[in-house]
Symmetry: C2
Subunit: 157 residues, 2 copies
């Protein structure tokens, strides 16, 4: 099927999807952001085949989303933890979560809610703000060419 790579695309959405837009990567990242660190934890949680987990972990490390660290329990094994680049994906996970909370047909099947750790109260919806503090919807935004945009290999949106 030769998935066409989006790596050279000039659209930032496509570029992000090229990095972790496959079926499992975001779920692995979600698990990592939940504190899972060990191969076995990921495998048990996600139920995916071990070989696939192996390759996914490897490419996520290659791409700077995860890094391996010596196991915290002193064994010779390694653990996988998010890099800053990986932690930066957190808002995307939140956005996905909130979309489901708002639009899913069976919201009663959602098991968890995200709460402020201090107060234990649900977080607010992600908001997109303008420089002067107004809340912006999709219709209130446009795309402008980036000031000094270099020519990308493939120019889309």
């Amino acid at each position: 099927m030769k998935r066409t790579s989006l790596a050279g695309d000039s659209c930032p959405v496509a570029r992000a999807l090229d990095v972790f837009g496959d079926w499992w990567s975001l779920l692995i990242i979600r698990d990592a952001s939940l504190g899972r660190r060990r191969f076995g934890e990921f495998q048990a949680s996600l139920g995916l085949a071990k070989n696939i987990l192996t390759t996914r972990l490897r490419t996520l490390v290659e791409r700077g989303i995860l890094k391996t660290v010596p196991a915290s329990d002193g064994s010779a094994y390694q653990e996988y933890v998010l890099t800053p680049k990986g932690h930066g994906i957190f808002p995307i996970l939140v956005a996905l979560r909130q979309w489901t909370e708002e639009f899913d047909d069976h919201p009663d099947e959602i098991a968890t809610i995200m709460v402020d750790r201090d107060k234990g109260k649900p977080v607010k919806k992600l908001a997109l703000l303008s420089q002067d503090g107004r809340v912006l919807g999709a219709a209130d935004t446009t795309l402008k060419p980036r000031p000094a945009a270099k020519r990308a290999r493939r120019v889309l949106a």
Copy 2:
């Protein structure tokens, strides 16, 4: 390859990915939110095979992300526009965009920036706020079991 369906998963992230987490759907949605409406527009913009575009459009319609409307130019064809559920994906696109803007290794290849339509100034970063207005990072949040969570078919994170 029999992608294991995540539809019954209790994690809202997984549920969202089950709806539009494949390789093309989010890009189609991005195009739609950019104002593209016609089959040919999507195909030309994305460069994917036409049959795939056909099936993707159909499942996005089935899932309530897009709807078909009679063509605006009076021809007998149809156009594809976002439903409210589809428009709700906008924050996810913004989150993806901002992640790339912040972490991509070649940010100079990004062609566009998102600006406030009124003022033409770049938008601010998506912020996650607590009820009392503090900005929350990943470490400042936890997941709590949903109050009256019904048992989902598969219970993960």
